[in-house]
Amino acid sequence: MDNSVGTVKPKIMKSNSPLKLISGKELGTVEIVYETYGELNREKSNAILICHALSGNHHAAGYHENDEKPGWWDNMIGPKKPIDTEKFFVVSPNNIGGCHGSTGPKSINPKTNKFFGSDFPIVTVNDWVNSQKILMDCLEIPAWKFVVGGSLGGMQSFQWAIQFPKKIKNAIIIAAAPKLTAQNIAFNEVARQAIMKDPNWKDGKYMEHATAPNQGLALARMLGHITYLSDESMGEKFGRELKKSKLDFNFDVEFQIESYLRYQGEKFAPNFDANTYLLMTKALDYFDPVKDYGDTLFQKIKASNTNFLVLSFTSDWRFPPIRSKEIVRLLMNCKKNISYAEIKSGGGHDAFLMENHDYFEVMSNFLSEN
């Protein structure tokens, strides 16, 4: 396999010291599943943290044994790729509250010996950064050379610079926003309602009933998916194309886009967890460092030596360029080193996951020069 990190195996970090959450609740023990690519150099100065978005996980690059598809950011991470694993040591964890191996709703609650389910406490971007810091300490990494993320991942990268300014040399914030708008929250709420109105929701204790609200989760994913694509890219891919040659005058799947969305939802639901979906959307809704920190935000950022790269995509309407510019403005007012580029792409919000010559070149230049 050319330019691939090859076959990878997830690792698990266990921490027995309790993690205090922003909500006031506490997780007694924390497990974080993660993958690493490349080698940590002797000076321990080449580590990159990858932060995943809403439905992402720790499997960012390479192939799991017997898998045909690589990790979610394989086009970005690998030998001679923008995040060059010949130069960098890349750490990619699954966030707590996730459903791919890190402590989350699918874990057993030690207090009850049952699945956490909907009892899993609400986690915030701030909590994720704290848990990633535990992983960093465990791997004996003194500071991240880069923290990189798109969308919700970009928010984590931003949060790192606020929370641990001395532990992050460069932050790359892609297709993100400093907080959600009412419209963003509205979409998340519809997604949550779709899940919680599913007859198999069972107050979030569906695992105890050996079932899952997959209809609702699939609907949530369908809705999300629409907001990740642009009108332009949907039009190009599907237009008004029909599955059959003529209209049937019924409510079955008729247009290609309907079929595609259903397929996306059905493919997603069995491999994800409804409680995790709720948690991730809440973390998005709650993210608002300007409000959380007030005036101290500026002091915190001013005190840091972090260099920033902020990227947006022209057709992204979930977090459009104007939202990234809010981050730019904030950082500029703190006199930070920051560069900003608006990448031309028809790919919508999902453009941050797609191969794009301009995008990758900007990333490569920033990663190799800082």
């Binding site: 790269l309 510019k325 730019v328 403005r329 500029m332 007012n333 006199k335 080193n337 920051i338 560069s339 900003y340 580029a341 608006e342 990448i343 031309k344 301009d358 070149e361 900007v362 230049n365 920033f366 020069e369 800082n370």
Partner: protein, 197 residues
Amino acid sequence: MAFRKDLLLISSWIKPNTTVLDLGCGDGELIKILIQEHSIHGYGVEIDLENIKKSIKNKINVLQMDIDSGLSEFDSNSFDYVVLAQSLQVVKNPKNLIDEMRRVGKEIIVSFPNMGHWSSRLNLLLQGKMPVTKNLPHSWYKTPNIHLCTIKDFLIFCKDNNYNIIETSITNNQQKSNMMVKIFPNLFGAVATFRIN
């Protein structure tokens, strides 16, 4: 590496440890000079992604924005200097931009190629063609230069708008000043640079 002489002139006008916004920064050369020479903190603004890539490669802070749509991303009085080096002629609305520059910067520096230079005048007078000269190398149909002016035009423009010019430098094609440039700046000056507050 040899720096552009017109940028070195601008650099000589900038005080150390100040903040600078460079509009149309190209590959970030001016900001790079200013960091080296005067330890400034600055940002370049560019619309062209290829220049953005080069600036990032040069380790210069660069922001991809369109200066033709104003400087709304920048707070009033947020920079000591706002510079527009040899780009005045490409902007859609020079007056709007200069007003915006004055809002954002405590002092502004503007330079442009002088359309009143003898070579341009001769081009038009003798050949009856739109001038194509060393400083203005594009044919009329593919030039990015849509608001060319002479030094005299610019001085009238500043007077009409009450822009206070505090320093002027006119240089010839070799980026130098000489007797002819001093006596007939609008005829022998190739590049004009103004400091306005």
